[in-house]
């Protein structure tokens, strides 16, 4: 087997092992950190998948939260209705086999539904460029949110309780690994160079025989698929979702991670997702340590101001993102030769 799929399988096994042996320990002794850990995973999926659209393909989308919402609600209502049936066959809601099968099926359903939505949104809107595309995707994201807000069987503004919080380290980080693998192996191939050519110069790309529309839609569909998966994991983690959790600011959060990590650098975006998830929590912790004089604790408690300030400083000092674009185009990362 060539190196790519092999490393994917090894990584999945590592996730499985950590989940099997460490899950209960972490979840029961460090519940707070466990929560952050899962949130990091979800944010990495969101950011690396958006990076395929915004970073590699250069199509500025502001609607990622919309696809996440579709995934969350799809898997939530799927689980509420279908899980009891699966439980009937697989030994009840306490059996680990049943819960994992339920989670897998509903996450997959969520991903596929979000991908279909991505296709439906992508085909008409990807004719537009730059600011116009951003506004249209923003609009679609809001439409999805408002539609859910007004759909009674999805709980409308009351929110939706989701049966069982089955999301665990394996499924979260398994999805992270899968998402990163898909993005990297797509981009790092002759086929995948097409995404970058679309970003650089559409006219020249067309003149080289590259069907730019197809590439843009593909990137959008793959991006929405993983956004849907992230949404499903989120729904099964929080066990309660509201439309407000998927508003415009959720999309902006993800875009900030992508820009900060460096458009078109999966490594950078992953690091940025981890950092930006930890940062607000770390600032919270910092406010209550002895190192900070009491007079300044009030300031640190306004951690969101500090967080924004750090973002501004980072953007001023590293406008190309944490890892910039350099990693994306070096050939040693692209080399696709197997063993």
């Amino acid at each position: 087997m060539s190196r790519g799929p092999l490393s994917l399988i090894v990584a999945l096994f590592v996730c499985l092992a950590v989940s099997l042996f460490g899950e209960n320990f972490i979840a029961s002794n460090f519940a707070y950190y466990y929560d952050i850990l899962i949130t990091i995973g979800i944010n990495v999926i969101l950011a690396t998948s958006l990076n395929l659209v915004n970073g590699y393909t250069g199509q500025f989308s502001l609607g990622h939260a919309g696809f996440m919402a579709i995934g969350a609600y799809a898997s939530g209502s799927w689980s509420n209705n279908i899980d009891p049936i699966i439980f009937g066959y697989l030994g009840g809601s306490t059996s680990p086999l049943a819960t994992n099968v339920c989670l897998f099926v509903s996450v997959l359903f969520a991903g596929v539904l979000a991908a279909i939505a991505g296709f439906a949104v992508g085909v008409p809107s990807l004719r537009l460029k730059g600011d116009y595309l951003a506004i249209v995707t923003l609009g679609f994201g809001e439409i999805i949110r408002v539609a859910i807000l007004n759909t009674d069987f999805l709980g409308a503004s009351r929110g939706l309780s989701v049966v069982g919080s089955y999301t665990n380290l394996f499924w979260t980080y398994g999805s992270v690994v899968l998402c990163i693998y898909v993005v990297l192996s797509l981009v790092h191939s002759t086929y995948g160079r097409g995404f970058l050519t679309v970003r650089d110069d559409e006219v020249a790309a067309e003149a080289m025989g590259i069907n730019t529309t197809k590439y843009k839609v593909s990137a959008f569909v793959v991006g929405s698929f993983f956004a849907g998966i992230a949404g499903a994991l989120y729904a099964h983690f929080k066990a309660f979702i509201t439309p407000e959790g998927f508003n415009f600011f959720r999309s902006v959060d993800v875009v900030v991670i992508v820009i900060l990590g460096g458009m078109g650098s999966t490594v950078g975006v992953t690091v940025a997702a981890v950092l930006l998830t930890i940062l607000p929590e770390a600032l919270r912790a910092l406010a209550h340590t002895q190192f900070v004089p009491p007079a300044y604790q009030g300031l640190l408690e306004n951690r969101l101001i500090l967080y924004s300030l750090l973002l501004i400083i980072l953007m001023l000092t590293r406008p190309q993102g944490l890892f910039g674009d350099r990693f994306a185009s070096k050939r040693r990362f692209i080399r696709s030769r197997g063993d």
Binding site: P5, S185, R193, L196, R199, A207, M208, I210, S218, D325
Partner: protein, 263 residues
């Protein structure tokens, strides 16, 4: 010789403006043809019509007898017409190597599914493309720069890289849009030799749009002259040089009238 590209009474109108008026021309197999004309004559419009950026209002564009009207630019490239641009359009965030590799996309047998699974056949194709890219770069002496970012290349090299990238699509016909623009006389001489070399080595037809008379007269076997969208002359370089209409289009009317007559 067989005809490769044929324009049959092509007209392009933008609103009330007729940019190209019932133009007929042809490029035969293995032929080096020039298309010249003063500023605004419609040369680039002809280019854009052949490559599918514009659709002819009337008439047909035929490649080896096949109609190209209304095809998308990428589909036309797929049929075997590759082009370069007047203002260089390389993929600036990619290396020299990747610029050429991306152009191999057109004849790729393996798609995204294979890229994910990374099977034996996929990897073989990838390494084939890798060696063919290097080979192509070697022919043009660009292989030592294959890892540099293309925007850091000197101007002349960027122009050459654009030609290499176009050749990677394995065209039957290469369209060059003012390749000598902005070059020094030495670079121009090198370019002339390069174009002839490309035509012979790759056994393709070349259609050259150029301002520089020395370049066009020096290498083209046959030349078409456009003025205000109308074909005013066709023939070998020697005939074109003496053609009264061409002289008129470039230098104004015959002596005797107006300021130019005093020369």
């Amino acid at each position: 010789m067989d005809s490769l590209l044929k324009l049959d009474n092509c007209t392009i109108r933008f609103g009330g403006l007729t940019a190209v008026a019932s133009l007929s021309m042809e490029v035969r197999k293995r032929e080096l043809v020039g298309l010249i004309g003063p500023n605004g004559a419609g040369k680039t419009t002809v280019f854009n019509m052949v490559t599918g950026v514009y659709r002819p209002t009337e008439g047909d564009v035929l490649l080896a007898g096949e109609r190209l009207n209304g095809l998308k630019p990428y589909a036309i490239t797929g049929k075997g017409i590759a082009r370069t641009f007047q203002n260089i359009r390389l993929f600036n965030s990619l290396t020299v190597f990747d610029n050429v590799r991306a152009a191999f996309n057109l004849h790729l047998k393996h798609g995204p599914r294979h890229a994910l699974l990374r099977g034996k056949a996929f990897l073989k194709e990838e390494s084939d493309i890798e060696s063919r890219t290097i080979e192509l770069l070697k022919i043009f002496n660009l292989d030592r720069l294959s890892e540099s970012m293309c925007k850091s290349l000197p101007y002349g090299d960027q122009r050459r890289l654009e030609i290499v990238r176009a050749l990677a699509t394995q065209p039957k016909l290469l369209l060059l849009d003012e390749p000598a623009a902005g070059m020094t006389p030495t670079e121009k001489s090198n370019l002339m030799r390069l174009i002839e070399f490309v035509q012979e080595t790759f056994d393709i037809s070349v259609l050259l749009v150029e301002h520089d008379m020395r370049v066009v007269m020096g290498i083209c076997k046959r030349i078409y002259v456009l003025d205000h969208g109308v074909r005013i002359a066709e023939g070998a370089p020697g005939e074109i040089r003496r053609h009264p209409k061409v002289i008129e289009a470039y230098l104004g009317e015959e002596p005797g009238e107006g300021v130019r007559g005093e020369k």
